[in-house]
Every structure is written in C-alpha cells, then in structure tokens.
C-alpha cells in the first residue's frame, strides 16, 4: 500500500477516533440497533462505535457483515467513517450499498501501516474526500 490513501467510499466526516484492539465481525459482533459491540469475547464489548472514526486494521468473519453495516448506516448507529489498513470487501460493501440505496455516505479509507498508526493517535479526526485524515 502506497502512502496515498485508497478511498473506497469517498466523503467527508469527522468524529472521535476509536481504535479496535482486535478485528471485529460486524455480524454477531455489532448491534445495528444500538451501535454497540456485542461480541462477548471482544475486549471492547459494550463500547459504542456510533459517530466514531473507527480504526479497524482488518475485517473478520461472516459474510453478513455487509448487511449489518448497511443497516447500522440506515439507522444512524454506524461509525462516521472507517479507516482500515487492508481492504475488506465485505465491510466496504455495506458502505457502498448504503451509499447507493440511501445516499448516506460513510467514508471508507484504506491507508498504509505508518499512516494507520498516526491516525490511531488522533483525538478527533476529520476525513476529507481525498482520504486525508487530520486532527479537527
């Protein structure tokens, strides 16, 4: 991955940075009604992802993650934006379909390892349409 961010879903958003300590399968791991992490084995179980700039290096698990994310976006319980280190097509699809269906854009940006580490240190981050990530 070059240093230039790879923008999968383009848009502007900002929110407090939440870094996932472990990959999370949205299906079985995220409650789309509340935006909370419900995977009992996840270290951040009970935390809310709603409105955050969610830093999740890689995806995990079920094919249904796309549906859960699309539903969370529809219900306004989703993160404000998603920052990843590797492309996860299943997660990306949730955001792509919500964009197509409802015109609700949740930016998804894939960045290099160095950039990912930098973003995780931010307090409140802004995602620009070109994928630039900066402290608000």
């Amino acid at each position: 991955m070059a240093d230039q961010p790879f923008v999968i879903v383009a848009g502007e958003a900002s929110g407090p940075v939440l870094v996932l300590d472990e990959p999370l399968s949205f299906w079985g791991g995220l409650d789309a009604e509340t935006g909370r992490i419900i995977d009992q084995r996840h270290p951040q179980v009970g935390e809310s992802v709603t409105g955050t700039v969610l830093c999740m290096p890689v995806g995990r698990g079920s094919s249904s993650a796309s549906s859960v994310l699309a539903e969370a976006i529809r219900r306004d319980t989703a993160p404000a934006a998603l920052v990843m280190r590797e492309v996860d097509e299943i997660v990306a699809l949730g955001a792509i379909v919500a964009d197509e269906m409802y015109g609700t854009t949740m930016p998804v940006v894939v960045v290099s390892g160095t950039e990912f580490d930098r973003v995780t240190q931010l307090g409140v981050a802004n995602v620009a349409a070109d994928g630039a990530l900066n402290e608000v």
């Binding site: 079985g28 789309a32 890689v58 792509i96 379909v97 197509e100």
Partner: protein
Amino acid sequence: MDLDLSPDEADMLSGAAGPGCQLAMRVLTRTARAMGATRLRPISGAHIDSCLYHGQAGVDFAQRLVDGDARVVVPTTLNVSSLDLIHPELYRGDAETGRAARHLMDLYEQLGCEPTWTCAPYQLEQRPKLGEHVAWAESNAIVFANSVLGARTHRYGDFIDIAAAITGRVPDAGLHTDDGRLATVVVDVSQLTPTLLSRDVAYPVLGHVVGARVGTDVAVLTGLPKGTNEDRLKALGASMASSGTVALFHAVGSTPEAPTLDVALGGQEPQRTITVTMADMRAARNVLSTADAASGPPLRGISLGTPHYSVTEFERFVDTLAGRRIAPGFEAYISTGRDVLTELELRGWADALQAAGVQIVTDTCTYITPIIEDRPGPIMTDSAKWAYYAPGNLGVEVLFGSLEDCIESAVAGQLVYDEAVWHG
C-alpha cells in the same frame, strides 16, 4: 488502472438491461475497484447469503432489485434464513421480524434463486468443480468451495453475491487469480498427537487456532493425515473463517491444490511458519466455552449442525446414539438442509431421531434465530462456529465438546466430558 468493461457490461451499467441490473452492476463495479480489479470475468453459479434478514436495509436492496426487473442469470442457491419453513412452529422470535424475514426470502425467490436454504451448498448434488469460477457468500461455504472443491470464489459478502448472480460477473481479482491462491503461510501441525488428529473434535479447534493466527493470509497445513475427509475439512474451514478471515486454505495431501507443499506455495518461500502445539489446542478449546461447567447452572441441551449437518455426519450421530434416547427435559437440536432431510427420511433416520428426542432444524440454524428455549443453563456443541457466535447472538452460555461428549451428555442428561484426548 481503471476497470475495463466489455460492451455488454457497459450496457448493464448504463441501465440498458433495466434498473435492477444497473444497480447490481454499480455495486459490482464499485467493489471491483475496491479489489483492484481491472476487468470482470464470467461465473457459472452463485450462492447468496443476503437472504438472511438483518434489518430493513437488506429488504430495501432486494426490493429495489425486484422492482427493477432483475433476474439471476446463473444457477443460484440460497443460504439459510431466519425461519424454518418445514418446522415453522420452532420460531420463537417476534412476529414482525418473522414476517420481514419471510418477505426477504420471497424476494430472493422472485429474483430466480433456488430455495435451497442451506449454508452448506457444497452438500447439494450440483456443486462447482476444480477451477470453476463462482460467486459464493457465507464464510464457511466460501472456504469450502475454494479449499476443498478447488472452485474459485473471492470472499464475497451480502449484496455483491446477488449482484454477481444478476450480472453473471465477478471482479477478476483476489482468489479468482492463480497468484491469489498461493499459500504464503505454512502451518505445521505435526506436533499434535495422532490420537487427537484421529478424532473429529480436533478439526474445529484447529481451525480456531489457525484462523486467529493467519488472519487474511492463505495458509497451507502440513502434518494433517492424508485424505482428511470432507466433514473434517468443513469444520476446519468454518472455524478458520469465524476466528479469522480465511477464505482459502490448503492441506497437503488432502485438498486439490496442495498435492505437495511446494505446489501449494507456488515454489516460493513462505513468509512465515506457524507451529501448532497441544497447548495451543487446549487453550483454544477452553476459549470456545463460555460457561463454567463446575459452578454454573447444569447443562440443559446440545446443538449440532453448524454448518449444516451432512448425511455422513448424521450417520455418525445415529451410530453413536446407538438406539438410546435423549434424557427427558434435555434439548437436542441438529441443523441441516432440506435436501439432506429428504435423504434422512428415505433412510428412516428422521423418524428415528425424532422418536429419540432429537429436533431436526432445517432452512435456518439454531445460532441465528430464536429457536432454542429461553431458560438458564449452557448448551453444548461440537461446532466452533456455533460456540463463537451463539453467546453474542442468543445470549446463551456454551460448552464446547466432541460429538461423543454431546451425545453422552444428552443421553445422561448431564455433563459428560472426555478430557483424555486433549493430553499426551
């Protein structure tokens, strides 16, 4: 490098084949770009996970496809839904969710999909062959198609599965390419005891260990018995795809793209080698249980068949049960596909199992929808995938055990557990 479309594909994208097909092509091409594909390629079949209800967004999408006159153009099977249409009385969820789930199922049938309602489409008569390109969703089906059948599907999720079936195309990238299928990680399991590897219970636990450690990489396992059977490879892959993001693994001497270690690696040096120990296996087995067997409420049921039980798995269950009955008041569920149920009926096993106190569940699975009775006490399973997801989905406590542990516990009506196999 941008995505290069054929005239037919460009027509679909422009709406010439109708608005439903256009939406499908928009989703497909956007995903293709995310995958770094420069072109699309044709497929011969699809398996759809989007038919499982997760909320209104999924219904809205399917409705838009139906209203836009979309139809699948390749043979397309359907994954489990939230409802058991053959035993509808088993559904204990709220009626409104049930109606929405049923509506979603109907929409997918209207799109031309076959109502197979199974997460194990590889157990159907028609299944893809070595080298055949398909678009499969459902993580356990993906890993089985790629690894055990040698068919080629990328790790597809909801929405793109049906988009691929409607357009007849997938992005020509990832696991559809020769390079994308080569192993980069070697997993050495030769330290595991032959006794453990001779038991079914080793495979879901091994998958849990491997999935958590390989993440998204393609792994090749060495040290597994040659010709490891499909049921074991199925359990191995399903748990790898739960604890990790595995969509393809190779097992030297057991899977079609790994006649030798060197072939599986494409002649390259592996990026890393992982050694799995007996201690790793015991640790993973412990993680798979959430219940405290010593001080918690007593075991009150078993649930098997995640992924859907095959005919040979039923055969082992029937043999092990050996004419005995499930203890009174103890719950016993086995999830399977309706096609397998038909076979069980022909063999007389369906009636025999019912008489023994076993509830067969079809079209859905006990960990995704409210079927299991809502009362205290853990459920035992031999499925790492069930053990992984059921506590979050259902709020139940789980104990992981072997098929023999499950059956002996169910017959005794209390926990029976063979610890010996995990040592030595």
